[in-house]
Amino acid sequence: MSKDFLSVSDLVASASEKEILHGVSFEVSEGEIAVLLGMNGAGKSTVASAIMGDPRFKVSGKVKFLGKDVLKMPVFERARLGIFLSFQSPIEVPGVTTTEMIRSVKEETKCGFVSLDEVRGGITESAKKLGTNIWFAERDLNVGFSGGEKKKNEILQMLSLRPKLVILDEIDSGLDIDAGARISKVLEEYQKESGCSYLIVTHNMRVLKHLKPSKAILVDDGRVIAVKDGTLVKQVEKKGYKAVLEEIQKEVA
């Protein structure tokens, strides 16, 4: 596994003058499955958004991906380098369908014509894997979608764009049990086939059903408290954040 895949060092992020991340550092290797754990408001989603380049956050520090300092890059260059963020609350874009959006991306990156049918073919394949109808790929992006449909649509986009680093911000919220398990399976298959890495923000362990994390990053109050192996996930699930945080503090002491 390559070490120079993703390294986050001293990442500070603030929104409207309030500092949310106070210097976060961690690494994710190529092909690795890492989970960001932490209570509500710990700053997990901010980590995810800041890596992608959400303009709401002012950031400093360093985020290196494939040897490049991505914090200096515009958002679209980060995406073209292979970073994908599955949004916690996907944004509505009236009048633009998923298919058209994906086609525009492909046309711009390939600098040439891409037919809608070609894009549609790929989406149909992916939709089959997700066990869904593709109707929502032909409707306005996220407009009038249920919570579950929005999340499935994020995965459809991911499968079409084929990223190297997939950041999943609460992919399981709004999904029913069956759909959650199915998405977990699809994510597993995509990783096996592409060798991508996952950085997963979640409160719900169901999405990990088919994914075995080898790293767990515990975040509290905008700081990384511990980086452990995947067994930390099970511990948190059993005892809760508070007890685990206390145990770690004792260890450190």
Partner: protein, 441 residues
């Protein structure tokens, strides 16, 4: 032209060899123009000096019905616009006007066999068979003294199209008239008269364009549409004027019982545009649907919208406008829904949305709703917004550059209009929007 005079229009009338009743309308136009005031609302028209406008420019060609016979330099203009190509593929008939006169008109034989009549307006007023019908309708829906520019139009009108669709006739594919204003400093005053008889169904496409010159041009056309009982008509327009144009046209439809008018309009270019297509819902259950998009960029004021007058009971209308403004461009959404006494159960809905593409751009919505009937419904919504930062971030996170992401959001904003247009025109409109965003229009 030094002033609009009787002598000038008599000379024009003589040149055209038209019947006296047409010349009488011209003379009334002169009289009204000289005594009527300029519009008391909307953009400042003081930059328009009629003395500098050439009122009539006859192309060096007679009207023909084969593109081979059209002079090469005119043919090239229409080739570049893709008109002969579109005619081959999916139009029932095509008419093409170059400056002041039609230079080409052709109707597919099978449509002619259905009884559909498609004539250049100038020929139609002389036609023994249709002259009576035309006299009963020509400048009746839009009276000469409607406003100062209808008076000007009445005095100087030249070119345009006459279409009659007989009872219960469905014309499967559209007819298109294309008006090209090519001479610098010229005026274009074409008149379109369409009569769709009871139970008929028809789609008309109007295309307009002009090349770029440094002097002011004037387009002051008129469109009169009569829609019979249970008839349906769609009137689509894609206008793409150069930015020296004053586009001051008048469009009006009257709809009888159970009939429908659908206006679909894309208005691009011009220095100043003032157009407000009106529908008079005259018979019970008549309908009007207006969908329009405008784009005002540097140095442009696009004052555009629609009007609906509900005369009969259970009539129904929707006005849906989308206005884009860029640089120092000004978009005005001017709309009116009037429900007359006795129009019981009428429903009117107006929705005006504006999108500002940069901080200096301006947009204004002026919806007017007048309800003179107790049991009628009218509502309007208006909004002015900017491109949302979070939508930009979302699209850019998928790999789209900021420019492309903006363009996609804008295209989405206008999607409701482009999906109402035939595919080639939707593509043309999307291309015009793209050129305006890139500043290459």
């Amino acid at each position: 032209m030094k002033g609009l005079t009787k002598e000038l229009v008599l000379e024009l009338a003589k040149l055209k060899g038209e019947p006296k009743w047409v010349t009488d309308i011209r003379l009334k136009g002169v009289e009204c123009w000289n005594k009527m005031p300029m519009p008391k609302f909307g953009p400042d028209l003081s930059g328009l000096n009629l003395d500098d406008i050439e009122p009539y420019i006859k192309p060096k060609s007679e009207m023909v019905s084969s593109w081979e016979e059209v002079p090469a330099y005119i043919r090239k203009t229409f080739d570049d616009l893709g008109i002969p190509e579109a005619e081959k593929k999916n139009l029932a008939g095509v008419g093409a006007q170059y400056d002041s006169e039609m230079v080409y008109l052709n109707l597919k034989r099978e449509v002619e066999k259905q009884g559909v009549v498609y004539l250049p307006m100038g020929e139609a007023v002389k036609d023994a068979k249709y002259s009576k019908m035309i006299r009963e309708h020509f400048m009746k829906l839009i009276p000469v003294d409607d406003h100062k520019f209808t008076a000007l139009h009445a005095a100087l009108w030249s070119g345009g199209s006459f279409i009659y669709v007989p009872k219960n006739t469905t014309v499967e594919i559209p007819i298109q008239s294309y008006y090209r204003l090519n001479a610098p400093g010229a005026g274009q005053f074409e008149h379109t008269l369409i009569i769709v008889d009871e139970g008929a169904d028809f789609h008309f496409i109007e295309g307009c364009s002009a090349p770029k010159y440094n002097v002011a041009n004037l387009h002051s056309g008129a469109v009169e549409v009569y829609i019979g009982k249970n008839a349906h008509m769609k009137f689509s327009t894609v206008e793409s004027w150069s930015k020296n144009m004053y586009n001051l046209s008048t469009k009006r439809a009257i709809v009888e019982e159970g009939g429908t008018i659908e206006w679909v309009a894309g208005s691009f270019g011009s220095h100043i545009t003032m157009i407000y297509p009106m529908a008079i819902l005259n018979g019970e259950g008549a309908k009007c649907e207006y969908t329009g998009v405008t784009f005002a960029s540097k140095g442009q004021i696009i004052d555009n919208g629609a009007k609906v007058v509900h005369v009969a009971p259970n009539t129904c209308s929707t006005i849906d406008t989308k206005a884009l403004s860029k640089d120092d461009g000004v978009s005005v959404n001017r709309t009116l829904a009037k429900i007359c006494p006795g129009a019981h159960g009428a429903k009117a809905y107006i929705d005006c949305k504006s999108l500002l593409l940069n901080p200096g751009a301006k947009a204004e919505a002026i919806p007017e709703v007048m309800v003179h009937c107790m049991n009628a419904e009218a509502a309007h919504e208006a909004s002015v917004g900017r491109i949302s930062e979070e939508a930009l971030f979302y699209l850019m996170s998928r790999g789209l550059s900021e420019d492309k992401a903006r363009a996609l959001i804008v295209r989405g904003f206008t999607a409701e209009v482009s999906k109402e247009l035939p595919v080639e025109y939707a593509m043309e409109m999307n291309n015009l929007i793209k050129m305006e965003i890139e500043g290459t229009a």
